[in-house]
Symmetry: C2
Subunit: 201 residues, 2 copies
């Protein structure tokens, strides 16, 4: 059979197909969309990909990705330095930055997940404990995902703090009904959590 697609087209379809959530059909659609764009637009995208990791470092304070260490958040004088929020990934910082939270972050770089071979050593747990031991913080908010692994990681960190007798208020973000959600469709674990975490009205 004669080759249907030019090499450069097939290669980019293959490359796009490696990205999460992008199957071969979507990859083709993206590539053929790009083919309708100007050379300038295509080169702009290509350069953005190639330059993605250039000049990127991990902030040595919070371990978020950044252009320099300390990062903009850690170096910001307007931020409250007495609270640290522990999150899994840099994307969590992006999401939380849209709230009114104005303290510092600590990015673990993942969650404890024995099935994926990720233990506390693979995460920035030792660095977190070292920071906490300096006792500069009044409160640590555990903001790992409300998933099995996220809960286990939060619990693991809380126990370490207790074991090391670090003086700090440890809190966990509330689990409950999402705003705009529908009570009758909520699962029983979420409902149980929403009841447990009920507040005075």
């Amino acid at each position: 059979m004669s080759k249907i697609l030019p090499d450069s087209v097939q290669k980019l379809i293959d490359e796009f197909g490696k990205l999460p959530g992008i199957g071969p059909k979507t990859a083709s659609r993206l590539v053929f969309y790009l083919l309708t764009k100007s050379n300038t637009d295509i080169e702009s995208l290509g350069e953005s990909v190639t330059n993605l990791k250039k000049n990127l470092v991990y902030c040595q304070e919070c371990f978020n990705i950044a252009e320099q260490s300390p990062c903009n958040i850690c170096a910001d004088p307007k931020r409250e330095k007495n609270t640290v929020m522990v999150v899994e990934e840099p994307l969590d910082v992006v999401a939380l930055s849209k709230t009114s939270y104005n303290g510092l972050y600590h990015v673990l770089g993942g969650v404890i997940s024995p099935i994926d071979g990720v233990g506390p050593e693979q995460l920035r747990v030792a660095e977190l404990i070292a920071k906490l031991k300096e006792e500069k913080f009044d409160e640590m908010i555990l903001a790992t995902d409300p998933s099995l692994e996220g809960e286990a990681t939060a619990m693991y960190i809380a126990k370490l703090v207790e074991k090391d007798k670090i003086k700090i208020k440890v809190t966990r973000i509330a689990r409950g009904l999402p705003v705009g959600g529908d009570l009758e469709y909520a699962d029983e674990i979420t409902l149980t959590r929403a009841l447990e975490g009920r507040n005075a009205y």
Copy 2:
């Protein structure tokens, strides 16, 4: 507010967000996935994007994208040269190449769509008619999409052939129930077409 994301990360999120079907959330997810990949992988993707259009030409026979003109399909001696299938886009050729069809193609480069300002002049219609006038083909299969615009474009081409008194058998791909589909969920237009196009059994 302090800048949350490094410039290179934000830039690639913006670039990915311009692609069809990729919103800002998906774009972020893709970029943060890429951040976990090696520099080699990232550069490979970047180069594939940059090189996408290099060495690409339109085949001057069928107007498909190709590495040289005539393209592999038009130049293939094993293909039947007496049938031409008219399609909208290069992706349609990819889809049809998985069938047993072994003739030639003609890629229009779109469909007639007055609302988008696309008339026959913007498409490869004149080139098609010129080819047909050489009367090398026994049959032309109109394989534009079974959409409003696709049907109108097919009808427009069929009328041109009639007006120019070109001797060729003009056919249209069958509209009917998709294989594996469920009759009770089919819309009435598809059902009407399926009845109209019924075959001896």
